[in-house]
Amino acid sequence: MHWGTLFDYICKGLDTSAPLAFAALGGVFSEKSGVVNIALEGGMLFSAFSIVWGSIIFHSLWLGLLFAVVIGMAFAAIHAVVTITYKVNQIISGVALNILAEGIARFLSQNIFGQETQSAMNPYSFPSYRGMNVFSLVVIPVAILSWFVLNKTVFGLRLRSVGENPEAADTLGINVTLMRYSGVLISGAMCGLSAAVLYPSRWVSGMTGGRGFIALAAMIFGRWSPIGAVLASLLFGYADAARISFASSIQIPSQFVQMFPYVLAVVVLAGVVGRSRAPAADGVPYEKGED
């Protein structure tokens, strides 16, 4: 293989990994605090719409990104209110939010851009280097920062403690509700960041194509650790990039190539579990023991 081709592949792989990695980091924060967030998919999709919309409104990509992050957090806030305050089943809330996100984005697109299935082109975008959106590199400092926050700060310790043993954390005076809200809101902000690398030039209905769920698989494979989640995202991202780069030179039907990342996800999950353990109180609403 030519070196230039290899280098292109390395860059392209980072590009396809980055949206997964941001979302997987979001999943880590949410689940470490004890809230399963399968609405990452919807959060990414709605944020992807918001970055295009925001950039056009504010005539700035950075303000568009900020807008996407804020929208991502607002969207996650619904999940937080429903699951933490009202203790509704977290999967159900996630399913509802995924339906809602697709609907809102299509509805807004119809009313703003006159088309239900895609937005206008976004004239602002990050520079691209060899097929890679350079914002993809931001995932590296964000991953390190996430690791630091979760493992080396008081906030991180508290966040993890409410995901492992909320009763004990509560007894120690930690505000379980506040910590869980923080975890979920951070996951929303990460969805906003993932929008910046997904495809900031245009929103298209269904453009996330299940990436939010692949990100959850990456999070599990990465054993709920920020670095692990990012490494797992790279695995899936590079598998996907291989599919795109080399599909034409392989003699197998394209549909099998399409299946590859999903089959890989299942195989990887089947192989890893037993060694991978979710936070103990992940998915369990916290009831203060009053009765």
Binding site: I38, I78, V82, Y86, K87, V88, N89, I91, I92, S93, V95, A96, L97, N98, I99, L100, A101, E102, G103, I104, R106, F107, Q110, N111, E116, G210, F213, L216, A217, I220, P253, Q255, F256, Q258, M259, Y262, V263, A265, V266, L269, A270, V273, G274, D291
Partner: protein, 364 residues
């Protein structure tokens, strides 16, 4: 007894409140888009209950939705989130269609045969996620979603490749060969006409309707009349307690998961055997996700799921009405559906808190 009725009344209220609130929100959105609410109501009416054709269409639309909801609900009862109904009905439909295309049988055998084949196909597609769940503790939500995507690619390959019927049918769209006439689902509009309801035969009220009714009765019977159903509900209520009680939790969950897949296999029957008469990967998608919402609103009981499926069928037709006769886009229905689920689950929670508080007060 009187007290019990009052509690039951509160519990029924939550979905009604959710429905009313989401309809109010719908009207707000209609006004925000600059449409006259009167026009919107009129458009919805025209598409849903204005004529017996429309009402029959709502009923027909509800059949696959009911089956999807039933599949999800059955798994829910055993504390399993079968998000894979989507993939299971694509594969179930495929296996059913194979039975209809390649196996020549007399009609009275062929129809039950394809129904059974579809159920087996759906169960097979649920088998690996079920085994991974029970055997290795891998959360079924992730695996079933992966299997949905794998299923879509697989049927796409089969319909374009080995099972392609393009030469045989002369169609330009990728599809399989035609299903043998003995396996096609005929309309049963004569049954409704005999009962005094004037349904035109252009609406698909076919064998899939009695299949759905039978499936609902079967689920009710298993859940509430058989020992296995009792075990299943016990596992759904508390895995720990069930373990102590000596229930083989893994076995029960495996069985529930597979049967849920089998029910999911029935979802595509109407479209494949009554509407199209062949199989394609372009059959309606997204029903599995609708099924989750339907199961939830129907509180995982067959009767509740039937009402919820009718509600969803109504919403879907209402969406077409809005799109057709007003400037409100169809996507508004997704928005309203998402919001309605959230409102219903939150009001469910509020109601159960209220009941808990009432019980506590009465106990004192």
């Amino acid at each position: 007894m009187k007290r019990f009725n009052r509690y039951a009344l509160y519990e029924v209220m939550a979905p009604l409140v959710g429905f009313a609130a989401s309809m109010a929100l719908l009207m707000l959105i209609v006004v925000a888009v600059g449409e006259n609410p009167g026009n919107a109501v009129d458009a919805i009416w025209k598409m849903t209950f204005a004529t017996s054709t429309r009402t029959a269409t709502v009923l027909s639309t509800s059949v696959p939705l009911f089956l999807a909801g039933l599949a999800v609900a059955f798994a829910f009862r055993a504390n399993i989130f079968n998000i894979g109904v989507e993939g299971q009905y694509f594969i179930g439909g495929l296996v059913g269609a194979m039975a209809g295309i390649y196996v020549p049988l007399p009609a009275f055998l062929h129809i039950p045969f394809v129904v059974l084949a579809a159920m087996i196909g759906g169960a097979l597609w649920a088998a690996i996620p079920a085994a991974l769940k029970v055997g290795r503790g891998i959360h079924e939500v992730i695996t079933t979603i992966m299997f949905n995507n794998i299923a879509l690619a697989l049927v796409n390959y089969l319909v374009n490749g080995p099972m392609s019927g393009l030469g045989a049918t002369g169609s330009l769209e990728p599809q399989t060969r035609h299903i043998l006439p003995t396996a096609l689902f005929a309309n049963i509009d004569w049954l409704f006409r005999a009962a005094g309801w004037n349904v035109p035969d252009s609406v698909y009220l076919d064998y899939s309707l009695p299949v759905a009714v039978l499936a609902g009765v079967l689920v009710w019977f298993i859940l509430f009349r058989l020992r296995i159903g009792f075990d299943l509900r016990a596992v759904g209520t508390s895995t720990d307690v069930s373990l102590y009680a000596g229930i083989k939790v893994a076995k029960v969950q495996l069985g529930a998961f597979l049967f849920s897949g089998a029910l999911a296999g029935l979802v595509g029957l109407q479209e494949i055997f009554a509407v199209r008469g062949y199989y394609t990967f372009q059959i309606a998608s997204g029903l599995g996700f609708d099924g989750i919402a339907i199961a939830l609103i129907g509180r995982n009981s067959p009767v509740g799921v039937a009402f919820a499926a009718l509600l969803f069928a109504f919403l879907r037709q209402a969406g077409y009405g809005l799109q057709f006769f007003t400037k409100v886009p169809n996507s508004v229905i997704s928005v309203i559906t998402g919001l309605m689920i959230l409102i219903i689950v939150v009001s469910n929670e509020l109601v159960s808190r209220y009941i808990k508080a009432l019980r506590k007060k009465e106990a004192m």
